[in-house]
C-alpha cells in the first residue's frame, strides 16, 4: 500500500483545477483489473473521481507524455489552445529524474507544467505475483505490507509485498524527488542500491556464457517496440526503427543479428541519458531484462568518466556528448576488463 492515497491525490488535483491553475491532469487510470493501471489524462474532477488511481500498480512513468501534451501547434501549446492553464503531472521520485532529463533536452516547456511530487513506497510487479499465485487471478489488493490475492484455482493468499516488489524498486536508486512544484508526502534520499550486482555477475561470466545468456534473452523479443515507446529518453520524432529503408523497421526480428542490432542500438541511443527508471523492462511483454543493458552503460560510464546520474539536475552534460583530453582509450578498457575476469 502507499502512504499517499488515491483520494489525497484527487483532492489535490481537484483543488488545483478549481483554483484554475491547471487544465488537465496526467495521472494513472484504473484498468479492468486492479493491477492493470495505465497512464491517463483527466480533464475534469468527475473524470478523476471515476478513473484516477494511485497505488502499488501506478508504476508507469508519466514524464514522457509531457512531450506531446505541451507540443507547440502553430506557435501555441496544445493545452494553451483553450486555456492559459497548466497541465498537472504527478511524479514519483524515479519519474522526477526523467522529468529533469527531458527538460535538459528541451523536450517540453517547464512553464506549462505543474509538477506534484508523490511519496513512493515501492511498486508491485504483477508478473512476480502471478509466478507465486499461478493462473486465474481474480483480484489483487494491497493492504499494509501485504498483497492479498484471490485466485480461481489456488484459493486466496497473502504475499509479503517485499517478495513481489518490482525489480526497479528492489534496487531503487533514489527516493528523492529531484523536481517538483509541490510535494505530497515525504521525499527521501538517494539510495546506495545494489543495482549493478546483476551486471557484475554477467561481466564475470566467460564470453561464451555471456553470449548464451543474451542470445537466450534477446531471442524472445517480438519487436513490439514497447520498450522504445515507453522509454522517457526515447523521444526522437524520427526513429531509425520506423524507417522502411533501414531494413529493421517495425517488424519482428528476422534472425539473431536483427535482435542484437535492435537491442544494441536501442540501449546505445539512451546511453548517458537513461535515468534507469526501469520502464523498458517493466513494459516488455517478454520479460527481457533490458535494464541490464542500460545499467551496463551506466556502470561503464561511471567507471570510465566519473559518476553520473542522468536527470539528477537540469542542464548537466551527458557523458557521451562530452570528453576530456585524458579519457581512457577503447583498448585500455578491455585490458582493465581482463583484470577483473
Amino acid at each position: 500500500m502507499q502512504k499517499i492515497t488515491t483520494e489525497q491525490l484527487i483532492e489535490k488535483a481537484a483543488e488545483l483545477m478549481n483554483e484554475g491553475k491547471v487544465a488537465s491532469v496526467l495521472g494513472w487510470e484504473k484498468g479492468e483489473f486492479g493491477y492493470d493501471v495505465t497512464p491517463g489524462i483527466f480533464g475534469s474532477v468527475d473524470e478523476l473521481k471515476a478513473k484516477f488511481v494511485y497505488g502499488d500498480f501506478s508504476a508507469a512513468n508519466l514524464s514522457k507524455y509531457l512531450v506531446k501534451k505541451t507540443e507547440m501547434v502553430q506557435g501555441q501549446a496544445l493545452v494553451f489552445l483553450k486555456t492559459e492553464r497548466k497541465i498537472l503531472i504527478f511524479l514519483k521520485p524515479c519519474d522526477s529524474y526523467s522529468f529533469n532529463q527531458l527538460l535538459t533536452e528541451h523536450r517540453f516547456d517547464r512553464e506549462k507544467v505543474y509538477a506534484v511530487g508523490v511519496q513512493c513506497d515501492g511498486m508491485v510487479d504483477i508478473e512476480k505475483v502471478k509466478k507465486i499465485a499461478g493462473d486465474g487471478l481474480l483480484s489483487v489488493d494491497t493492504s499494509g505490507n501485504d498483497v492479498v490475492v484471490k485466485t480461481l484455482y489456488n484459493g486466496d493468499m497473502k504475499i509479503a509485498k517485499a517478495d513481489v516488489l518490482a525489480e526497479r524498486c528492489v534496487n531503487c536508486k533514489s527516493k528523492k524527488h529531484v523536481a517538483y512544484d509541490e510535494l505530497l508526502g515525504e521525499t527521501g534520499e538517494v539510495i546506495d542500491s545494489n543495482r549493478f550486482d546483476e551486471v557484475e555477475r554477467i561481466e564475470k561470466m566467460t564470453p561464451d556464457e555471456r553470449f548464451a545468456f543474451w542470445q537466450n534473452e534477446l531471442s524472445k523479443c517480438i519487436r513490439c517496440n514497447a520498450c522504445r515507446d515507453a522509454c522517457p529518453a526515447c523521444t526522437c520524432e524520427k526513429c531509425v526503427f520506423d524507417n522502411p529503408k533501414s531494413g529493421v523497421e517495425n517488424k519482428s526480428p528476422a534472425n539473431s543479428f536483427e535482435e542484437k542490432l535492435f537491442h544494441i542500438i536501442r540501449a546505445y541511443h539512451v546511453a548517458g541519458r537513461c535515468t534507469d527508471c526501469g520502464e523498458c523492462s517493466r513494459v516488455c511483454p517478454q520479460n527481457i531484462p533490458l535494464h541490464l543493458l542500460n545499467r551496463k552503460f551506466i556502470k561503464d560510464i561511471n567507471e570510465f568518466y566519473g559518476d553520473y546520474q542522468a536527470g539528477a539536475e537540469v542542464g548537466s552534460r551527458a557523458p557521451l556528448v562530452d570528453y576530456t583530453v585524458n579519457d581512457v582509450e577503447p583498448g585500455e578498457v578491455f585490458d582493465r576488463g581482463d583484470e577483473n575476469a
Binding site: P207, V240, E258, D300, Y323, D327
Partner: protein, 144 residues
C-alpha cells in the same frame, strides 16, 4: 576437395585527414598490408555511427577498425575525443554481449604514419584471422 584458405574481411573506417592519408603513404612507400582490409573513408572518425559497425559485421566483416587522427589533432578539433568515448562504451557493450572484443579496435594513425598504418593492419588481420569467422554478429542472409 581442398578448403579455401580462410581470409578475414576487415572493414577499416579511416578519417579523411589523417588515417586515410596514412594509408596512402603506406601505399606510396610500398609497405605491405593485406588486401582483405577494405577502407571506407569518413570525414572524421566521429562520423562512425555504431550502426555502421554493426552493419559492417552484418554484411560479412570479421573485424572492424576505426582509424582517426591522434587525440588533439582532429581536423575538427574534438571529433576523435567523442569517438573515443563512444567506441569505448560500444565495444564494452559488445564484449558484454559475448562478442569477441578482439574484432573491434580503434587506432590513431596520422598522415605521416604510413608504417604504423601498415603495421596496425597486419597485426589486426592476424588477430582477427586467429579468431576465425565472425559467427556471433553474422547475418546468414548476407553470406556470400
Amino acid at each position: 576437395m581442398q578448403m579455401k584458405e580462410y581470409k578475414p574481411l576487415i572493414v577499416a573506417f579511416c578519417c579523411n585527414w589523417c588515417s586515410y592519408a596514412g594509408a596512402d603513404l603506406a601505399g606510396n612507400n610500398r609497405l605491405n598490408y593485406p588486401a582483405e582490409v577494405k577502407i571506407i573513408r569518413v570525414p572524421c572518425s566521429c562520423r562512425v555511427n555504431p550502426m555502421f559497425i554493426l552493419r559492417a559485421f552484418q554484411r560479412g566483416a570479421d573485424g572492424v577498425i576505426i582509424c582517426g587522427c591522434h587525440p588533439g589533432d582532429c581536423h575538427y578539433t574534438s571529433g576523435n575525443y567523442y569517438t573515443r568515448r563512444r567506441m569505448a562504451t560500444l565495444f564494452s557493450m559488445l564484449d558484454y554481449l559475448g562478442i569477441e572484443k578482439e574484432r573491434t579496435r580503434v587506432e590513431w594513425v596520422s598522415a605521416a604514419e604510413g608504417a604504423k598504418f601498415a603495421a596496425t593492419m597486419n597485426d589486426f588481420v592476424k588477430t582477427v584471422a586467429s579468431l576465425g569467422e565472425n559467427k556471433r554478429l553474422e547475418d546468414l542472409r548476407c553470406k556470400r
